[in-house]
């Protein structure tokens, strides 16, 4: 969506220009004692101001309207109409919910498979260790014929189980690999949401710029909140994406350890 701010610039500038020339005229008329003409000039200034203001407010309203249509904001909900389209913002929320669901599913599926494989592998390891001890006894000729027959049977069993279990673990590993397919899907969804956020930001910036023109003509000044006051230390920020670019953030466990040991931990 393209909202041009340049036309507004000229209206505001035109008004300011006419204000300057009319002010000079006003002073001249007052000095000459021509009050009738002076009042006419004041009237002209007011008219120019109103014209500019109506124009800017009109443009702002139109831009707002376009933004609402462009992002299909949920006007149905706010204006009570029954035929509201599903908004792009609501759609983006749904998409991000989908990302959360997909990553959650993949993480749990992966952990399920790891949890079912780990005891199998560990059991095989234990059995192999036990058989090796037996085998060493055989090599040292400490084994009776009966014990050897038992060992031979155990080894056969073990080999059979190894074959079966390694096939099982191998299949689990393959499933773990397949569970990573969420990366592709979530990546696509996230990229689309990023594009939407970017468009919304651009549109909002244009609206702010236009509202600025209205303020300029109407002579309104806003008190902005102090940005420093908005963040407190204990406010949770979540994972740091650019830890290397910030001085107030640690970049890893080593720095945490250093900081804590400097505090006497």
């Amino acid at each position: 969506m393209v909202l041009s701010g340049n036309a507004g610039q000229t209206t505001a500038e035109e008004f300011e220009q006419s204000l300057k020339t009319n002010a000079q005229k006003l002073v001249e008329h007052l000095e000459e004692g021509d009050y009738k003409e002076a009042v006419m000039v004041i009237h002209a200034i007011n008219q120019a101001r109103d014209r500019g203001l109506y124009y800017e407010v009109g443009k702002l309203t139109r831009a707002l309207h376009n933004s609402i249509i462009s992002f299909q904001l949920d006007t149905a909900r706010s204006f009570g109409s029954e035929h509201g389209e599903h908004s792009k913002i609501a759609d983006a929320s749904d998409r991000l919910d989908y990302v959360v669901r997909l990553t959650d599913k993949a993480a749990n599926r992966t952990m399920d498979l790891v949890e079912s494989s780990a005891p199998v592998v560990s059991q095989l390891g234990k059995e192999a260790a036990a058989l090796r001890e037996e085998w060493k006894r055989l090599q040292r000729r400490e084994m009776t014929a009966e014990e050897f027959r038992n060992l031979s049977r155990s080894i056969m069993d073990f080999l059979e189980r190894s074959e079966k279990h390694s096939a099982e673990v191998s299949s689990n590993l393959n499933d773990i690999l397949m569970a990573q397919d969420y990366q592709d899907l979530t990546g696509q969804v996230i990229k689309r949401v990023i594009t939407l956020v970017h468009d919304v930001e651009e549109s909002l910036l244009n609206l702010v710029r236009m509202a600025g023109q209205v303020d300029r003509i109407a002579g309104i000044q806003h008190e902005l909140p102090d940005p420093e006051e908005r963040k407190s230390a204990s406010q949770a920020e979540g994972p740091q994406i650019h830890a290397d670019k910030r001085d107030d953030v640690v970049s890893g466990q080593d720095e945490v350890d250093d900081l804590l040991s400097s505090l006497g931990f």
Partner: protein, 125 residues
């Protein structure tokens, strides 16, 4: 050794639970934020608390403060496992009486080291 794991994401609770099991700690329970964790701690005879910071309801830092303010829980060892990495936050946690601080993403080795260190210090006292 009974351990309470507090994190709002079930996958993270599961990872920590698995790592603790590998370290030989099998008696664990889970809570998804401070509000549910605190009553569990007050009635459950836990020996160790592993908590995230950023959670809906009651955050990990508030849970830590509540634990330290509770006459019966104030000596409970607390390990913070969190993505919060601001220096001010780590200092804040230290001042609130945390026993260890692990930043996410972490390795199994890092978690193991910190847990062992926490217990070493407790035994030394």
């Amino acid at each position: 050794m009974k351990i309470l794991i507090v994190d709002d994401f079930s996958t993270m609770r599961r990872i920590i639970k698995n790592l603790l099991r590998d370290l030989g700690f099998t008696n664990t329970a889970e809570a998804d934020d401070g509000t549910t964790a605190l009553p569990m701690l007050q009635h459950g005879n836990f020996d160790f608390l592993v908590t995230d910071w950023n959670m809906p309801g009651m955050s990990g830092i508030d849970l830590l403060r509540a634990v330290r303010a509770d006459e019966r829980l104030k000596t409970l060892p607390v390990l913070m496992v969190t993505a919060e990495a601001k220096r001010d936050q780590i200092i804040e946690a230290a001042q609130a009486g945390v026993n260890g601080y692990v930043v996410k993403p972490f390795t199994a080795q890092a978690l193991k080291e910190k847990i062992e260190k926490v217990f070493e210090r407790i035994e030394a006292k």
